[in-house]
């Protein structure tokens, strides 16, 4: 596999290898973790006890819930294999067995553990998505990823993440069956769409004064909508200040939980199990009046910016030695965290609705020294406000702005700075020179 370097976005990355586990399910499919096969250039699968590796391909990959379906070209691979069927959610304290290849090796390793906790947890593969997770008291090590966790002969989870020994010991996490079922249902139409999201913020309604003040004359229960993200699922249906009392007839407690199949889970679990396009129904109080509201669910776009990207080529535009890149999680992880304006824009992108004005934040991230840009030293990194008078709302905007007829190119950054001015005729001359001297294959990559 190859992980691109977001500091030098033209660099496809070092070539490395990795291993994980997987298991056969119905339809001659192999289920594994997305992070096992992300950014993969070539995949082989070796069966327990068979020395011959088979070439495999990724059929479906879901980075938001860290699951992937692989196929094997050579059908003989499946001879003598037994499909595993997907079970339910195990009970707390019940015993489970984890199968896989921790730290590699040729022989299957089995570990037993007990279900310790079922709760929402961040999936570290994307870094932003939270779904249901089952915690067990068996360590999950690199190589275990993608392996099945069995109880009574049925899959009740996919082992996927753990802790490094410094933080906690003998704790492992697996992806439970509601997430697996949802993934399999989502791909059954032939492609993966991804999770739906309510795109709203809410707060618990616990404090007695808040309950009294907001006339929530309900004895208990209900949460307060504090923000509805424009362009998101709930926009136009729910409003700031609404008190949500139930979702799909499940009463919502004052700390935002509902009871599903006998367990108390976060309200969003109801949405988690649905596909985009499916509907959700809320009972709510608005200005003291009871209302029922029903609306279809949308995906989480435009909020992907904070998630890690995989199997994508970093996008960039190089102009006069100035490197322009869209702000995203991978860019920030690689280089952007040092700058306060960048950090804050990234973290507050959704909460402060910054995406409304700038669907894509374009950053002047680097300056490749050349006589053309000798006047620009020290002006990066910065968020591009305008180029040649045009407000920049995407990398494509930047590209188009540089094509506007002009003798000078003028770039302004956010904040009180000095405009960057380049002579167009000199820029055009500089491009081949810069590409040549920095060994850059192309001056742009606008599509992922």
């Amino acid at each position: 596999m190859q992980e691109p370097d977001y500091r030098s976005p033209w660099d496809a990355g070092r070539i490395e290898g990795g291993i994980g586990s997987g298991f056969v399910i119905s339809g001659k499919r192999i289920l594994s973790n997305a992070h096992v096969v992300s950014n993969a250039r070539f995949i082989t699968i070796t069966r327990e006890g068979v020395t011959h590796p088979y070439i495999a391909h990724v059929r479906f990959i879901a980075h938001d819930c860290d699951l992937a379906i692989l196929s094997v070209d050579d059908e003989s691979f499946f001879e003598g294999t037994q499909e595993l069927s997907i079970g339910g959610v195990p009970k707390i304290e019940s015993a489970v067995s984890v199968y896989g290849y921790p730290l590699g090796g040729e022989r299957l390793s089995v570990t037993r553990g007990v279900v310790s906790r079922i709760d929402f947890e961040t999936y570290s593969h994307s870094g932003v998505d939270s779904h249901l997770v089952i915690q067990i008291d068996a360590a999950i090590n690199p190589g275990n990823s993608g392996g099945p966790v069995l109880q009574d002969g049925k899959v009740i989870g996919v082992a996927f993440q753990g802790y490094s020994g410094d933080e906690a010991q003998n704790i492992g996490f697996m992806i439970p069956t509601p997430v697996i079922d949802r993934f399999l249902k989502d791909i059954s139409k032939g492609s993966y769409t991804g999770y739906a999201d309510l795109s709203l913020s809410y707060r618990p309604l616990i404090s007695p004064a808040s309950r009294k003040a907001l006339c929530a004359n309900q004895q208990s229960g209900g949460i307060l909508v504090t923000d509805v993200q424009e362009k998101g699922t709930s926009f136009g249906f729910l409003k700031q200040g609404d008190i949500l009392l139930s979702i799909d007839s499940h009463p919502i407690t004052s700390d935002g939980r509902v009871e599903l199949e006998g367990t108390s889970v976060e309200m969003s679990e109801v949405v988690e199990r649905k596909l985009t396009g499916e509907k959700v129904v809320f009972d709510l109080l608005r200005d003291g009046k009871a209302l029922k509201v029903e609306f279809p669910l949308l995906g989480i776009a435009p909020f992907h910016m904070q998630a890690r990207a995989y199997d994508e080529k970093p996008r960039y535009l190089l102009y006069g030695g100035l490197l322009f890149q869209p702000m995203n999680r991978d860019f920030m992880d690689a280089s952007g965290e040092g700058d306060l304006r960048l950090r804050r824009t990234f973290h507050q992108f959704i909460e402060e609705h910054l995406y409304m004005d700038r669907p894509e934040v374009v950053i002047l991230s680097r300056i490749l020294a050349d006589p053309i840009n000798k006047e620009c030293d020290g002006l990066h990194p910065g968020i591009v406000d305008t180029i040649n008078g045009k407000t920049i709302r995407s990398l494509q905007d930047a590209k188009e702005a540089f094509e506007l007829p002009s003798n000078y190119d003028v770039i302004t950054l956010m904040g009180n700075g000095v405009p960057i001015v380049l002579k167009r005729s000199e820029v055009l001359k500089s491009t081949p020179r810069i590409l040549e001297s920095y060994r850059i294959p192309s001056s742009e990559n606008l599509k992922p």
Partner: protein, 513 residues
């Protein structure tokens, strides 16, 4: 009688004596004095020890552990002593002592300016100054000058370290953001007691105060005599608020492209105005963002904002305001208007300089006064955002302090002009009322009871007007309102004060904002 003095030493002696003599007395001629000896530098120094106690901004009713700083105070005319401001700022007690063990005396601060880092002390009992000689300022330091940096041995004998001036430029002072003329010297100063601030001498007179020394790079920073002279002159006026400022921010212009594009013409050098302080001197003179400054006080400016100083060479033009002018004086500015009305014209305007730097700041860079204003509403503690508040997050406060607060402080000049001060919901004490929103601390308050908050006084005022028996507090960011039962708040505050040992507040916040 033996005369072993060189003529220059004799001259030095003469000036020293003249300044000591009261005006009514007939000056004696030094030649008539029997056995004249050079006045030892120790006659012009006192050891100064300040007990310093910083307020704890996260618990504003408390002071942090006291500690002491000690340095050398230089005797100046008028029975006064000169030290750096950070030597005595936030001090609860200042003690003076003669170099060789002798009587001690307490002192008070006569004037202090933390921006230019200078303070004048006055002994409570002037008798400690008996037998001392005021040191005169020597503004003759140039790049390459050899200075003597003075420390004292335990027994009171002076220990001199030679220093060579390597740079004279406008550089940042310890107070965040302020920049004035500074000498940088190459020297090696040994570790000795009483060295928090020490004088540097040029030909036996005061060349400046050493305020920073880095043993690794062997570089020291000295507040220069000309700046001290300006401070002493201006701070004697009752209206003193700080050294003069023009009230604009600017950026360097490297190369000719920007000037050509704006139409200034490539024959002109200059700098680009990035912002003007609202209602500040530059704005009142008609300057605005985007103007291209060509001349200041008739000195042409280069692209780095320097003028050619007859003594020091290239110096940032801020120096023309802060050092070369007094608050209230004017400075002529020639500028090119690059946009809007009058675009393409070169104009001249006159800025009336104002004193002080920190007074109009939304997020003040330093604390004024003795106590930190704060107010409670039930179990909610409100304070105003300041740089010292952010510095409570320790050495790495630039990274560790809450990001939203850091951002507001760093880019405060992008906030609305009528912002006033920012009020932070600093702490939420656990109570029956605060269940459910204890995670909302360290956020900025936008309104209370539907009244906008532009300072702590607005909080006090808004708290008098609950809506339907509730206090409604709106914070910046999408976190929804906090409601408090107005009837419960006073008793809740009382019980929290009792539980956490918070003394009753003597005074409400100062009514100035």
């Amino acid at each position: 009688m033996r005369f072993s003095l060189s003529p220059s030493a004799l001259l030095l002696l003469a000036t020293g004596f003249l300044s000591l003599l009261p005006a009514c007395q007939k000056p004696q001629l030094p030649q008539e004095k029997p056995q004249p000896k050079p006045a030892p530098i120790t006659d012009s120094l006192l050891r100064v020890t300040a007990t310093i106690q910083y307020p704890d901004l996260l618990r504003p009713w408390l002071m942090k552990q006291p500690f002491t700083r000690s340095g050398l105070a230089t005797v100046i005319e008028g029975g006064r002593l000169l030290v750096s401001a950070d030597m005595v700022a936030h001090s609860t007690y200042i003690e003076l002592e003669k170099p060789e063990d002798g009587p001690k005396a307490t002192a008070t601060i006569e004037s202090i300016d933390q921006d230019c880092n200078l303070a004048v002390l006055k002994p409570v009992d002037a008798s400690i100054l008996k037998g001392t000689l005021p040191l005169r300022l020597n503004s003759g330091t140039r790049v390459g000058s050899k200075l003597d940096i003075v420390q004292l041995e335990q027994n009171g004998t002076p220990a001199l370290s030679p220093a060579t001036v390597t740079t004279i430029a406008v550089m940042t002072y310890p107070s965040d953001g302020a920049a004035y003329l500074l000498y940088r010297v190459a020297t090696s100063i040994p570790q000795r007691a009483d060295s928090f601030v020490i004088p540097a001498l040029l030909d036996g007179n005061l060349a400046g105060l050493v305020i920073r020394y880095d043993a690794k790079t062997q570089a020291g920073d000295i507040i220069p005599a000309p700046l001290i002279e300006r401070f002493l002159k201006e701070s004697a006026k009752p209206s003193y608020k700080g050294l003069a400022r023009a009230g604009l921010d600017w950026a360097q212009v490297r190369g000719a492209n920007l000037g050509e594009w704006l139409g200034v013409g490539s024959e002109h050098n200059g700098i680009y105005v990035t912002s003007v302080e609202p209602n500040g001197p530059a704005e009142k003179a008609g300057l605005r963002k985007g103007d291209f400054l060509l001349k200041a006080a008739n000195h042409p400016l280069d692209g780095e904002g320097n003028y050619l100083d007859p003594r020091y060479g290239k110096i940032a033009f801020n120096n023309l305001a802060s050092l070369e002018s007094a608050p209230g004086e004017t400075m002529a500015i020639t500028y090119f208007r690059s946009s809007g009305e009058g675009k393409g014209n070169t104009n001249t305007t006159t800025i009336t300089l104002e004193g002080g730097r920190a007074f109009e700041q939304i997020v003040p860079s330093q604390l004024e006064g003795e106590s930190i204003p704060y107010t409670f509403l039930g179990g909610l503690l409100f304070e105003e955002l300041s740089l010292p508040y952010l510095m409570e997050w320790g050495k790495d406060w630039h990274r560790e302090a809450p990001e939203n607060l850091l951002y507001l402080a760093a880019f405060q000049n992008e906030l609305p002009r009528d912002q006033g001060h920012l009020v932070v919901l600093s702490s939420i004490f656990p109570s029956a009322q605060s269940v459910g929103f204890q995670d909302l601390g360290k956020r900025v308050v936008s309104s209370i009871n539907d009244r906008e908050i532009h300072g702590l006084n607005d909080v006090v005022e808004a708290a008098k007007h609950p809506i339907n028996g509730f206090h409604k507090i709106i914070l910046k960011g999408s976190v929804g309102p906090i409601y408090l039962d107005a009837a419960v708040c006073p008793s809740e505050e009382e019980s929290i004060r009792a539980k956490y040992g918070i003394p009753p507040q003597e005074k409400t916040p100062s009514p100035e904002n």
